[in-house]
Symmetry: C2
Subunit: 151 residues, 2 copies
DNA sequence: CCAACCTCCTTGACGTATCAACTATTCCGC
DNA sequence: GCGGAATAGTTGATACGTCAAGGAGGTTGG
């Protein structure tokens, strides 16, 4: 067992900064999205995923993978969103185990109403404070760590 | 009302990458920390905050601010941790409204046992995949957005 | 000096996330 | 084809996070 590789000062700044940045941005964007559109960020992410999909629907496992969510989390989330009429479950004809999540017209309307304000918030709280060089290096950093493009 | 300022391709990569990076790292580190030390990341953050404080204690509002948490969240969290013997509440002699959260010996032992493995995970999943230049620019990016050092 | 206001903290209700356990179906090697 | 393994999805219990409301103590200005 090797000695602990503690973080140096720069790494500590980067790591704590990263966690705090996410915490702060997420809290504020969640609040705004909820006030303006009555959606949580989780709702929003599901709606975006489905709205970009063919026929506005995806297999549950595909959507879960795309969001980097567990199947369980997605299942619970879809149950709640279904109860509010934002999405619908459909059977899969080619795999009887499978299920589709499908955007309803109300769900489509919700994401279309919410997106402009939300993106405005993302700009205001995040991109407006960064240079394009910083944006580029952040995009590359996430690819370095994740090993893939983020979608 | 101005037209929506949509995100361009690079911004989309950066933003979705940021969210996904946090999601993936947090999920994995949370899982490891829970398996190895029986702690959640929220537990860990509170324990770190207190362990770095004078006399291993802080006023609730100070700790909340330091973590960028709501008072409510911290109050619930401390209640749960108190029930497990990790922290203790103490009255504040100079302000009767106030309360201290104090690390117990068990809490100190828990953080000391958990830290090496957790930091090892942070290295393995994050810093080992970045150049020192990337670390530096991430640290600066967080400062740009937050406007302050992250502690 | 006291009424109005502000701050510190807690609580309860509800929405959200995780794990483990479970059902149902499909896949695969023989 | 059939038995075991793997996959898709759900569920229930529990932990976590947020909001709104409220109690109790400080602070301040007339």
């Amino acid at each position: 067992m090797a000695a602990t590789r503690w973080l140096d000062e720069e790494e500590t700044r980067a790591w704590r900064g990263f966690l705090r940045l996410h915490q702060v941005l997420r809290a504020e964007l969640e609040r705004e999205l909820n006030v303006d559109a009555g959606l949580s960020l989780s709702d929003y992410e599901v709606l975006v995923g489905l709205s970009e999909a063919e026929e506005h629907r995806l297999r549950m496992y595909t959507l879960a993978e795309q969001l980097a969510w567990s199947r369980s989390r997605l299942s619970h989330q879809v149950t709640r969103m279904q109860a509010r009429g934002l999405v619908r479950r459909e059977e899969c004809p080619t795999d009887a185990r499978g299920a589709f999540a499908t955007l309803t017209p109300a769900g489509l309307a919700a994401i279309e109403a919410a997106a402009p304000g939300h993106l405005e918030g993302v700009r205001r709280h995040f991109f407006d404070r960064l240079t394009s060089e910083q944006v580029r290096s952040l995009a590359e950093l996430t690819t370095s760590v994740l090993g893939v493009e983020p979608w």
